[in-house]
Symmetry: C2
Subunit: 382 residues, 2 copies
């Protein structure tokens, strides 16, 4: 069987551009995603506390789930038996799964990376297990996601002993990621699942360019920027993404992994990114940190205790439609799970609306104005 | 000002009877409650993880909130500023609040009860505070509930040193509860709030009869059975409730506090009870213990891991409509809050449907059949 290099029923259509910012439509077997777009994180196959219906009403078009977590519990065989991610969870739209490598490396202090893959001790049963470029594809095929990610070696922006960037270490990780991508490409067996490869190279523009160029040569369905948000500056990140994007094919989707705050998303879109994911809206929501059209606010602040205003008068999410800041603050302060749920849903609504505004701005050629607005808002605390 | 003994806009209309079981309509300033009915517990002004909209869709007609908890956080003044319980929480239907006495006594091992009231150490600020018959009414008036409860002295079914029921201690608690009820009645200032007094007397039919008779003489808007579910047998409880009900006025609602499982509710209805509350459906739901039309089941049981059936094919709640037992089990096992939410909502839906069936059965004169069905189901584990 010849290797699969392009998934059936999958592809990016261009709608508009504004500078490097791209407005597109990403067609998948389970629906079309308007890009740029944001993927809410459903670690165990559920966005914490929020139903599929609520996500759809808030504007979600694609969810992300974590392969490592589902592999541990309930196991990909069970997910497959219960209809794959779509049937298992009830979210019938597109799914993206990560490779599990990043989770394993960051959750286990005993993970060991060598050429074969990532070997780790399961916190569940204490057994040693290895994620390889091949078996992570197999697990994701069983999970049934629309988009799978290759295993990559993800290292933080590292410095050598003299305080300079440790280019040789980053170079080795980049080279290995490339070899793993080739192995993943050869392991594919499911024609209806897209696979994205991952560009590495730390904060070095030279390495990012080289990584993107070589990865693009492997002809994946899409490409991701990995290893960012791990210590580099905003300018380094913007340059790394823009440089890599220039070396990636224009007709394939680009995904900036694990980032971030609203301004990070706008920076990414300005550099030509199409997809994002991050736990920030849900995690911040659980902590009472909310994004609004006027700036962000912490509901734990005592001055909201008797505030009868909604979190954001411009927002129509259930939290803002039905409740006051005072009530939401009370729920967060008392640890009532309805508070986490409503605050997370509000933040996700904010993110989906922001992506909607970004798409409209690109179509209208006003994206730089929106980018400037969000840059100014990033500093505002209500 | 003469004391308020009957709330405005409040009253019980009789619809039907079947033996001692009563089918009625309880009119309150914020809506009509079909009785018998079950009140979901919204400790801090929210049923754990569940929205007011979902509660209404599941069939809830009245919620219960805990005065002690709201008094501590956010304080009744804040609740009042934000529109009372109705405006504060977004549940616009009727609210019942407890007096706080039971919570204080059960949560604090340093609570001291004397004639003035219940003095306790706040776990929040370490200060000593006293709940009195008067100030619990004042707090509940500020909270704005439709039905307030008097402070009572609630003691478990006690035994003296020779193993016999400690009638003298129960008698003292009953007498004090009666004196406190009189004080509460004199303290009322809000004409649109009903107040229920509480019958005590442990498992002694003699004491229950005496308590009910004396309490009824104080002319409250309704009456509750307190101090049950604390160690007495099913037969003792049924006798205590039936005996007290015979001494209570037929035209006032009767509320069995803090109970219980489905069969406890049916037992209560058979003895002429109109209202119930309990944390069982929500707490059991969080633990993965679900009630179904075929018996109860524990989602933690491994045999549900790959079960694609809904929890209860006869149920139309969001959990049963959209999800499999396998997925819900996975959510409960991984501690995903969506699992607690869906399981709690399922159990509440079961309770509300059970109350609907009880009302219909009373109207049709078939309540004993339903009672027998639930008695048989109580033993069935799926």
């Amino acid at each position: 069987m010849s290797p699969i290099t392009q998934a059936e029923g999958f592809g990016l259509e261009s709608v508009a551009r504004d500078g490097a910012a791209r407005r597109g439509r990403l067609v998948t077997p389970h629906g079309v995603i308007d890009t740029p777009n944001f993927m809410a994180v459903a670690t165990f196959g559920a966005v914490r506390g929020i139903s599929a219906t609520e996500l759809a009403e808030a504007g979600a078009q694609i969810l992300l789930s974590n392969t490592y977590h589902l592999h541990e519990r309930p196991g990909e065989a069970t997910v497959q038996t219960l209809g794959g991610l779509h049937g298992f969870t009830g979210w019938r739209g597109p799914w993206l799964t990560d490779s599990g490598g990043f989770q394993v490396t960051s959750l286990s202090d005993r993970a060991r990376v060598d050429e074969s893959g990532v070997t780790f001790t399961s916190p569940l049963d204490g057994q040693r297990r290895t994620l390889t470029p091949e078996n992570t594809i197999g697990i994701q095929e069983a999970l049934g996601s629309d988009i799978a990610m290759v295993l990559d070696e993800c290292i933080p922006v590292t410095t050598s002993e003299d305080g300079e960037p440790d280019t040789s270490r980053m170079n080795r990780a980049m080279e290995r990621t490339l070899r793993w991508a080739e192995r993943a490409q050869r392991a594919r067996q499911r024609a209806s699942q897209a696979v994205f490869a991952i560009v590495q190279g730390g904060a070095s523009e030279t390495l990012r360019r080289a990584s993107a160029k070589a990865t693009a040569g492997l002809e994946f369905d899409g490409y991701a920027h990995g290893g960012l948000g791990l210590g580099e500056t905003r300018e380094q990140r913007r340059a790394a993404v823009a440089t890599a994007n220039a070396a990636l094919p224009a007709d394939r989707p680009r995904y900036l992994m694990g980032l971030g705050k609203p301004l990070d998303l706008l920076d990414g879109i300005a550099a030509g990114v199409d997809l994002f994911d991050c736990v920030v809206p849900t995690r911040n929501g659980r902590h009472g940190l909310l994004f609004t059209s006027q700036g962000s606010l912490s509901l734990r602040n005592a001055r909201f205790a008797a505030d009868s205003e909604p979190v954001d008068p411009a927002c129509s999410c259930p939290a803002c439609r039905d409740h006051s800041r005072g009530y939401l603050r009370h729920l967060i302060k008392t640890g009532e799970s309805l508070g986490s749920r409503l605050a997370s849903l509000h933040n996700l609504t904010y993110y989906f609306n922001l992506m909607r505004r970004a798409r409209a701005a690109i179509e209208q050629g006003t994206f730089p104005d929106l980018h400037g607005e969000i840059e100014a808002l990033a500093e505002v605390r209500l």
